[in-house]
Symmetry: C2
């Protein structure tokens, strides 16, 4: 399995991050004459577009995760490394981990984004976001604990606060969460409680702009809003959140300010780049945008460092129409494949024309059998959009892994209104290899590489 190093060592590609960008880059390099090392803090790829289904008890984390090693097990030139990157040394061409340094000829940084509270970081405690498996499990516990607590609460006002769910942000994640919680409260859990009537649940979806799903065509935003209202969701557009404290959301609608008592406040309002952006800025001098994303060149490399590429949610690519490309899976995928292709071509002395994103459309699901799809040339809504959404997601899930059972699980749930993954459990914060209790007990004999 060792690549021959007899004459010239093969070109070393290091990829940081096993999300859509990094994983697609690695897969596209499988046949190239290079050695690939993919570094990730986690041992699995996460299908983030379905994370809201974990948060609402419909799927298990493993249903939307694929072990990186099994996805890449057939790529003989590729090594997966579980570890955290602390720094990058562009002069020495090394990636610095906690106890070793990995040399690279070409580096691809694809560490993604995390949710952002627009500078109000103290809101996070009260209004958790949804980016990791742990986030989803924590959100799931909050949602189901709220119903349990309401069942035991005798004070009417407090019970009302337990049965009030506020979702901040009317983008796809907010819309999908609101729809799923509405189905839970008004259908799935209806018969399960004895002291409360779950149909009294209030679900508020708050959006600052004048319509939900702003990236979609206005008519689809309208359809989505109508459908959510029919599901029982209280959609509030032109609504700014001015404060979040323990169990209280303060909102501003025009000139009127009011407080909403809610025990469950969920954040779906914004993202910022992962900290690796800062690391790159400090080590290479590259410019970041206001969201912390790395401004990339037209070939996705960074200025002055033609062998460092940034892709996916961490990249700000504005060469197409002046606006940065959105932080969605298809962008990351196409960028990963482009960079892989570019590396292979360069090794043969060729060049490639600049990266060009092909937008195949936007999708959002509103509830059972309801979705909106904007393909640009065609707009779908309702049941057919939902079927389309189902097939697209099933197709992309199956790409990395055989998630046959996820599709069966979906169909089953949609028929039975079931929520089988309704477990109230709590995950710790994201885990690194070093967090394993027995890991530190080994004082590794491996010497840190001098850099």
């Amino acid at each position: 399995m060792e690549i021959s190093r007899e004459n010239q060592p093969p070109h070393q590609v290091v990829i940081i991050g096993g999300g859509f960008g990094g994983l697609h880059a690695a897969k596209a390099l499988a046949k190239a004459p290079v050695n690939v090392t993919l570094i990730d803090k986690r041992n699995f790829h996460l299908f983030q577009p379905l994370l809201y289904q974990v948060a609402t008890g419909n799927l298990s984390p493993a249903d939307i995760s694929s072990p990186l090693r099994s996805v890449l097990s057939k790529s003989q030139n590729t090594q997966v490394l579980l570890g955290s990157v602390n720094d990058i040394d562009p002069q020495g061409q090394k990636v610095i981990l906690e106890n070793e340094a990995i040399p690279y000829d070409t580096l691809i940084v694809a560490t993604g984004a995390k949710h952002s509270y627009f500078g109000k970081d103290d809101w996070e405690e009260f209004a958790p976001g949804l980016k990791t498996v742990e986030d989803a499990i924590a959100m799931r516990s909050r949602i189901f604990t709220a119903f349990e607590a309401a069942e035991r609460e005798t004070d009417a006002e407090k019970r009302r606060a337990w049965l009030t769910f506020v979702i901040v942000g009317g983008g796809p994640t907010g819309v999908e969460l609101a729809g799923a919680i509405a189905e839970l409260a008004y259908q799935t859990l209806k018969a399960d409680f004895r002291n409360i009537d779950t149909s009294e649940t209030r679900i508020l979806l708050l959006e600052g702009l004048d319509r939900i799903l702003p990236p979609f065509a206005p008519e689809l935003s309208q359809t989505a809003e109508k459908s959510l209202k029919e599901l029982g969701v209280l959609v509030q557009t032109k609504t700014l959140v001015t404060n979040i404290e323990n169990d209280i959301v303060t909102i501003k609608q025009g000139d009127s300010v009011r407080e909403i008592a809610a025990k469950t406040i969920l954040w779906a309002a914004g993202v910022k780049a992962s900290p690796m952006g800062k690391v790159l800025a400090e080590s290479t001098g590259v410019e970041l945008d206001r969201a912390g994303r790395v401004i990339v060149e037209s070939d996705l490399s960074i200025k002055g460092h033609g062998n460092i590429f940034v892709i996916g949610d961490l990249a700000n690519f504005s060469h197409q129409d002046g606006k940065p490309l959105p932080g969605v899976a298809p962008v990351a995928k196409q960028e990963g494949e482009y960079v892989a292709n570019l590396i292979a071509e360069k090794l043969q002395g060729n060049t490639l024309s600049p990266f060009n994103y092909k937008n195949h459309g936007s999708l959002a699901i509103i509830g059972q059998k309801l979705a909106v799809v904007d393909l640009g040339f065609m707009k779908l809504k309702g049941f057919f959009a939902w079927i389309f959404w189902l097939f697209v997601h099933a197709y992309f899930l199956i790409e990395f892994d055989n998630k046959l059972k996820v599709i069966i699980q979906w169909v089953w749930n949609y028929i039975t209104h079931n929520r089988s993954a309704r477990l109230i459990t709590v995950y710790e914060s994201p885990t690194k290899l070093e967090d394993n209790p027995s890991y530190y007990s080994s004082t590794s004999s491996r010497q840190p590489v001098k850099v």
Copy 2:
């Protein structure tokens, strides 16, 4: 949905614990003229016999869990309460929770067992056991982290310790864990690593007695041992563990004492009763056995308290052949159904003959397509035993929930040698409602009932 209380309040049955015993009691009382309150710390029933499949990345926690509320949603006389019981007041006939007291006419205590280190509680840190979902997730993380750490380890001796798995205890759980880890190391993960050869993994199964699976017939123990050896497991009988420290297991075989360096040590050696046994002893004066189990009368009630029943792993029922019944699901199930039946009969002025356990046999799975089944009148081994095992487990899983996808997942995994739930994540310690971050923010207005 309220039971009429016009003339006489209905008989109140409180059940503590939603395991096999408690849940079967509740279900059997669904048609009885009583009100039932089932109290559990968790919002789901756990199918413990398959927990080892979660620990080895084969199933997700939700696959073997059923939300208590959905299992009991059709039992209109039954209320589920998420909470922890702190005390029992047999004089006032009340169960004391953290902020309220629940009155009962009849009490069924079914809080089960947890693993025991025979007084060596400091071993737990190094050799975790397998009783809860959190245990399984922690074990899963340890197992998969060990391979990851071995992949990054350059020191041969340390790498060997990472690739050494010691399982203490040769009962069904130990046998099942050893078989599943052997399949992981020698089949599933074979192609996934680049620096290590997972076939060098050593898996030791340690048993103090002279054969594994002591509850089975000797010939089945022999078959199981032979099958495990063929899978690559090093079975060591007549082997006592005298010490467990960080990464070192000390064993005694006859007069020889030796140390095994192993980064992953798993405990499958013994259980003791849950702390509710002590609570009962202190409040009612009932006698406990050495394992902390409650000595019960021939009708499963406790001495001097005919309206308090103890069932399942917490009970020591020795009226059948002088030996306590084993702590397995079928015993708990039959005990739960007996007590439910007894309560219903008593309300009509009837009595029942003493409880009598019908042993339908023992089952253990050794590996893919291999199991041993001891039905008393018939012994099965090999592939047919495995098929039998699969059907029995599928049948019992389906009893509470429609776990169609679990069966599909199994068949799929057994065909593909896949381990889809290979996520390295960490759960916190078992969660109670009160652990929810927003729970304490509500100073409940409900007054504690004076007792």
